[in-house]
Symmetry: D2
Subunit: 425 residues, 4 copies
C-alpha cells in the first residue's frame, strides 16, 4: 500500500486537530508518510503544529510532520493538498458581516453579500495557490475547505487546470442529523441532493432504501427539527416544496426574520474569534495530545471527517458516494455542464463522478440559477477586477434589494478592504 | 383581395375607438368585411359600438359593424379575434394593487404580485375563450391584449391549440420614444430586443443600421430620457448593463423608491377609472364620429396601431418585423423552447417567426429566468387551482421578500377575490 | 428480511436454468418466497419448470415454484418480473436475418434491420405486458432481457408508467473478458461506459483505479483480443478513437467484411435452434438437477448472473454500480434526457441512478445519435403502425444503403411477418 | 450615400462577368467606388479584368477597376471581400472526384469525400486570408463562395474573428425553380428552410403566404420536377418526409444509383474545365463588353445575383430575408449554437440575424447532425494536420462504407495531394 503525502495550507486553523484525528483514526486504510503543515502566521503554525506532533506521537504512527511557512514546501509532490485559508483573517469576516447590515442587508459570510466580499479577497490568492499546485503537484488533488467554498471552487475549476474537489460539512451534517432524528446510524440514511454549496435541497430522504421524505417534512413541520441546523422553516412552504432545504436557505426564505435577528445581536465573527482564542490557548498545553472536546462547539464539526473519508475513498478507489462540489456535467438539469454544483458523486481514485439527480423542480430552479449567476459574475469580478461585474453580481444577488444599494454596497466593501483588493484599480 | 372578419372580445373598452381608427386608416391594404364587437356590459357595448358605427359611416367604408353580448358570435369564422378583457373590472385592479401594499410589497398590475392576482382571475376565462375559438375559428388568429399579457399568452399557448400572438404596446412605445430622442421617424430605429412581456431589454439600438446603443445610454444617464417611459435608472448600473431596460424594470431595479412612491400616492387604478368614466361620457355624444384626442392620455397609446399593423402584416404576408409574444423556439438562449417570450419576429400570413437574439447576457439572465419560473407556477396555479403552486409562484417572485409573506399574501388575495377564483376549492 | 416474488415471462427459454442457478447461489442475501414461471408453450414450460423444481429441491430452499400459462399469474404482486420473450420464435429470427441479406444488407437480430423487424413484432406484445404490470405489480420492477433490448426498453419507458430496467449481458461480458485479459478478478476492473444497447463504447478502463485504456487498446491492436467478443477492429481507427467499442460495433465499422461473412455462412439462428433443441432434450432428464455446462455455449453467458446481481443490489439497497439501460437524464451529453441509454448506474432499492459519463466524444457522437433516431422512429412505427415512420426508420439506419432499399426492405418484412404485424393496416 | 469598395479574391474565375453585371445592374442602390480584382494567375486576371473594365465603361459608371496579384491590395479597407478561390485548381477537383471512386465511393466535390479532400487543401489558405482580413478590413464583411462552402465557413467562423457570411446559389436556385414550377415570379415564393450547405431541406413552401408544400411534393412525385435541380427522389420517401430535399441529398438518399452513374460517366470536372477554357477564349474578345449568355451553362447561375443582392441588403440595411450560412445561435433546434448552418436570416447593415426554423424533424435530424460532425472533424484535421481527426472524419461520413476504406481513402488523398497538404507532417 502506497503511503501518501498530505499538504495543509492554512494549518494554523484551530480545526487542525480534527483533521489530524481524522487521519490517525484511519491509519490502517490510509497510511500517511508525510503531513506538511503550512501557515503564514508563525505562532499559530507552531501551536497547532506542535499539537499535531504530539497527537501523531501518541498514536505511534510513522507519519512525518513538517511545519513550514512556505506553501510550496507543503504542496510539492503532495497527493492531496487541503486548503483552508482565510484572507483578511477573522477581522475580515467581521467586516463582511457588518458592512451589509449598514444598508439593511444580511451579510452572511458564505452565501450572502458577506461571502461576496470574502470571495473578492480570497479568489486571487487561491488562484495563485492553484497555479503553483499545477506545477508542484500535477497529479495531486486539492481538497478545498476555503470559504466561500462554492465561489472558490467555481473560480479554480475555471481558471486553473488543477484537479480539485470542493468540500463542505453541510451535507454530512445533514445526514448525521437526519440519522439522529430517526435514532439510527448515518449509513442507513441516503439523500437525493442537489444545488450549490450552502444553497442545496434534499429532494428525497431514504432510510434503508425506503423513501421517508414525507415523514421527515412532517416531523420538521411539527417542530421536531431541533436536530437540523438552521431550522425551522415555514411549514406550508415546506410541504409545498416537498423537499428539505439546507439550513442556509433560511437567509433567503426568511430573510426578514434573519435580518431582524442579525440587526439586534452581535455577529457570529465575534463569537468565533473568542472561541478561537480560547482554543489556541488550550492547544499550547504541552500535555495535550488529542483533540479537545470543546472544539466541537466551534461550528465546523465533521469537516475533517468528511475530508479524511473522501481522501480514503480516493486512495482506496472505494466507489463510495460522497456529496461534493464538482463540475455539473449534466448531473443536475437546469444548470450548465461547467457549473460547479454540490451533488452526490461516486468517488474513485481517478476522481468524482456525479450521480444524476435529474431536472431541478420548478419551485427552486430559479433561485439556484440566480445564485449561480451571481457566483459567475463574482468570480469574473474577482479575477478581472471588474467593477461592472462586481456591481452586476450584487444586482443579481437575491438579498440585495435594489441596484442603488448594490452600487453603494460595493463601494463601501472596496473602501473597507482596499489593501486586500488590489485587482480593482 | 379577400375581405376579413375581426372579432373584438371586450369591445366595451374605451380603447375601442383607437382600434376602429387604426383599421379605417389602413382601409386600402386591410379591407374589413365585418367587425363584431362583443362585451358583457350592454351599456358599454352600446356606447362604444355606436361610436364605432359613426366612425365607420364617416369613413364611407363597407364594413359591417355587429354589436353582440355573445362572444361566440364575435369569434365565429373570424380571421382575427382581438381579446382585451378585464376579469373583475377596474375594481379588481384596484384590489390587485392595494393588497400587496398592505404587506409592504409593490402590487403592479402586470409584472408584480398584482398581476399574479389578476392572472388567477383571468386565465380560466381566457382558456374558455381559447377553447371556443379552437372550434369557431380554427384557422383564425387570436391577438391578445388582455393583461397580464405575458401570463395569459403563456397559459393559452400551453393549454389550447389555438393560434395566437400576444401583443403589448411597450415595444412600439419604446421605438417611438427612441425615435423622438433622435428627432427622426420611427422606421429608422431598429431594436435588438429580448425578454418577457414587461421584463425586456433592448440589447442594441440601431439608427439607419448604425449602432447607437452607447449614445442612447449616455443620453439617458445624462438625464435626457424624458421621452422614455418608466425612467430614470441608476446610471452606473445602466452603463454596466450596456443595455436599455424596459421601464417596467424599475419595479425590480428600484423597488425601494417605487414602493415609497406607491405607498404615498393613490394607485393608478383610481386615476384610470376616472378617465375611463369621462371618456365613456364623451363617447355618448351622437355627433362624435372620430377618436377623441383625450384618449391618448389613457396610457395605452399605440396599442391599436400595433394591432392593426400586425394584422395587416399577416393579411398581406408582409414579412415585416414586429416585436410580439410567442413561443421562444430557440430565439433567446437561456429560456426554454416552449416558453413564451417577447421578441422581434418576422410576420407572415402563416404566423410569426422569431428572429434569433442569441444567448441572454449573464447580467440579466437570472432575473428573466426567475420571472419566467414565477409565470409557469402562476399558470399552473390558475389552471389547476393549486394552492401549493400559487404560494410557490409568490415565493419565486423577486418582489416578495419572504416565504411567510408569500403565504399570507396569497391567502389575502384569495379572500378578497373569492367569487372570481372558483378553481381554488 | 422480506422474501420476494419473482415472475418470469418466457420461462420456456433454455436460459432458464441459469437464472434459477443464479438465484440459488444468492439464497442468503436474496430469499425468494415464490418464483412464477410462465410461457405460452406448455411443453417448454413443463420441461424447464420441472428442471427448476429439481434444482430448487436439490438446493433445499423453501422457494415455491409456480408453472403457469397465464402471465397475469406470474406478474400478480411480483417484486420483480423478468421478461425474456421472443415473438415469432426462433423462426422469426431466422427470417429477420435472412430478408435483409436478400438486399445485400446485414440483418443482425438486435442492432441491425433484423432487430427492426423483431421490434415491430415484439413491442406491441411487450406494451401489453407492461400495461398489465402497471396494474398487477405497481410497485414491482420489470427487468427486461427481451431483444432487441434497447428498442423494447425505449418503447416501454415512453408508453407505460411501469418501473423497469433493461439489462444486457454485453457490459458484464466485456468486464469479465477485460479481467481475463489481465488475468485478474472482474471486481478490479472499472469501465467508463456510454452509449446504447449493443452500440456502446468503453471510454476508459481502470484496473484497481489506474487508467489502463491505452494498454488495452495496444494489446487489442497487437491481436491480443481473443478474449474480447466481436473483435478484431482496425487498429488505426481504434487508436484514433482512443476507446474500446462494443463488439457489435463491427457491424457498423466493418460492415463490408461482416456482410461478406454473413452472405457465405448460414445465419446464427439455425445454429442456435439446433443447440436449443439439444438443450431441451437434455433438460428432460429427470435426474438432471443443475445447470448443464453445455448451456454456456448458447451465447448468453452471464445473463442470469447480471439479473440476479441486479435484483440483489436492489433488494439489499447496495448502492453498487451496474451497467443498465435506463433513461439518460443528463448522464450522457449529446443524447436527450428521456432517451434510454446503456450507462453505469448506482443501484438502490428505489431504482437506478445513472452516473455521469459526460459529453460524448465527437468521434462517435453522430453514430450514436443516428441509431437513437432510428430507434425512436422504429418505436413510433411499432406503436402506431405507421408505414411512414417504419420507412423513415430504415432510411436513417446506417446499414441501409439507400432510400429505395429502405422502402423495399420494409415491404418485404411486412409481407413475411403479416400475421405478427396487425398494427400495420 | 456612401460609396463602397469591393475586393474579389479569385477574380480569374470565369464567373466574374456575372458578378460585374450584378453590380452594374444595381448601380442606383449600390454605388461602387472601387472594385479590386485579385487572382494568382496573371493571365486569367488580365482576361477577366479587362472584360470587367469594358463592362464598367459601357455602363458609364465611375467605378474604379483595380487588377492586382496581391490579395492584400484587394482586401485593404474593403467593405466587402468576395472569396472564390480554388486551391489546386480544377485539376484538384478532378482528383477529388476520382480517388474515392477507386474505392467504390462517391467523390462529390462539396458534400462528399471529394469535398473532404478539397477542404484539407483549402481551409489553411482561407484561414490565412481571413487573418489578413482581420487586420486589413476589420469592419468589412467577407462573402464566401469558396467551396466546400459549408466547411470553409465553419472553419473561418471558429478560427478567425472576421465577420463573414457564407453564400451558395442553392437556395436562390431552388426558389427560382419553385417559382418556375408555378409559373410566377420568385418574390411570391417563401421557403421555410434549414440544414447545412448542400444538405438542406425545405420544410414548407409558401406561395403568396399560402402553404403549398403538399402540392409541390405531389407534383415532384408525379415527375413534374424537371425544373428542380438534382431530382427525382423516391416518391414514397418524399411523402413520408413531407419536405423537399436539396438536390444534393440524392448523393445520400440514392447513393447506389448515383454511384453507378458516376462510375460509368466522366466526372463533372472535365466538362467544367472544357467550358471554362471556351469561356476564357470568348472573354478575350476586345469587343465583348457584357456577360455572354453561354456563361449560364457553367452551372453557377444566380451566384452573383445572390451576392449582389446580399451586399445591397447590407449596405442599405434592408431587413430582407436571405438564406445564408452563419452561426446557428438557436435558429435550428438539434444543432449547436456555434455550428454554421444554412438558414433564412434577416439581413441588416450590422449582419445576418437567423430566423427561427425550430426543432429539426426526427426524420432528417440524425443525417444533418452526422454531416455536421464530419465537418467539425474535417475542420480539426485541416487546421491541426491531425491524421486521427482526418480518418475519424471519413469514418463518420455517411458515404464511406467502412473504417478500413476510411483509412485507405485518407492515405490515397494524402499521397495524391502531398504538395497541397503541408500541415500533415
Amino acid at each position: 500500500m502506497k503511503e501518501i503525502k498530505i499538504g495543509v495550507i492554512g494549518s494554523g486553523s484551530t480545526y487542525n486537530p480534527e483533521l489530524i484525528e481524522g487521519l490517525l483514526k484511519r491509519r490502517e486504510e490510509l497510511p500517511v508518510a508525510e503531513i506538511a503543515l503550512m501557515d503564514i502566521n508563525p505562532e499559530r503554525l507552531e501551536i497547532t503544529g506542535a499539537l499535531a506532533e504530539r497527537m501523531v506521537k501518541k498514536a505511534g504512527v510513522n507519519t512525518r510532520v513538517i511545519k513550514t511557512l512556505d506553501r510550496k514546501v507543503a504542496m510539492d509532490g503532495a497527493d492531496f493538498v487541503i486548503t483552508q485559508i482565510r484572507v483578511g483573517l477573522m477581522e475580515g469576516r467581521a467586516r463582511d458581516e457588518r458592512i451589509p447590515l449598514e444598508f439593511g442587508v444580511i451579510g452572511q459570510e458564505t452565501t450572502g453579500p458577506g461571502g461576496f466580499s470574502m470571495a473578492l479577497r480570497t479568489i486571487p490568492v487561491m488562484l495563485e495557490i492553484g497555479r503553483e499546485m499545477e506545477k508542484l503537484s500535477p497529479n495531486g488533488w486539492m481538497i478545498n475547505f476555503t470559504n466561500p467554498s462554492g465561489l472558490v471552487t467555481e473560480a479554480l475549476n475555471h481558471h486553473t487546470k488543477m484537479r480539485m474537489i470542493g468540500l463542505c460539512n453541510s451535507p454530512i451534517t445533514l445526514q448525521n442529523r437526519l440519522a439522529t432524528l430517526f435514532n439510527i446510524s448515518k449509513d442507513r440514511i441516503w439523500m437525493d441532493y442537489f444545488g450549490l454549496n450552502h444553497l442545496s435541497f434534499i429532494s428525497k430522504v431514504f432510510l434503508d432504501g425506503d423513501d421517508v421524505t414525507a415523514e421527515v417534512i412532517k416531523r420538521i413541520s411539527e417542530g421536531d427539527a431541533r436536530e437540523l441546523p438552521g431550522y425551522p422553516f415555514n411549514p406550508t412552504v415546506l410541504k409545498a416544496l416537498g423537499m428539505i432545504p439546507n439550513g442556509y436557505l433560511q437567509f433567503f426564505y426568511h430573510r426578514d426574520k434573519l435580518l431582524e435577528k442579525l440587526m439586534s445581536s452581535p455577529g457570529r465573527a465575534e463569537t468565533v474569534m473568542k472561541i478561537d482564542g480560547e482554543l489556541l490557548e488550550l492547544y499550547k498545553d504541552p500535555n495535550l495530545n488529542e483533540k479537545p472536546k470543546i472544539l466541537e462547539q466551534r461550528g465546523g464539526a465533521w469537516y475533517s471527517d468528511a475530508a479524511c473519508a473522501l481522501i480514503s475513498a480516493m486512495v482506496n478507489d472505494k466507489k463510495e458516494v460522497h456529496i461534493v462540489n464538482v463540475k455539473n456535467q449534466g448531473a443536475i438539469g437546469g444548470l450548465g455542464a461547467e457549473d460547479v454544483v454540490e451533488v452526490p458523486a461516486l468517488i474513485k481514485r481517478s476522481g468524482a463522478y456525479p450521480v444524476v439527480m435529474g431536472e431541478m423542480p420548478l419551485s427552486v430552479r430559479a433561485l439556484i440559477q440566480t445564485v449561480k449567476t451571481y457566483e459567475l459574475l463574482t468570480v469574473k469580478a474577482a479575477v478581472e477586477g471588474s467593477r461592472d461585474a462586481a456591481i452586476l453580481a450584487l444586482v443579481n444577488h437575491p438579498l440585495v434589494p435594489s441596484v442603488d444599494i448594490a452600487e453603494q454596497l460595493f463601494n463601501r466593501i472596496l473602501e473597507e478592504n482596499r489593501e486586500w483588493l488590489p485587482q480593482f484599480k
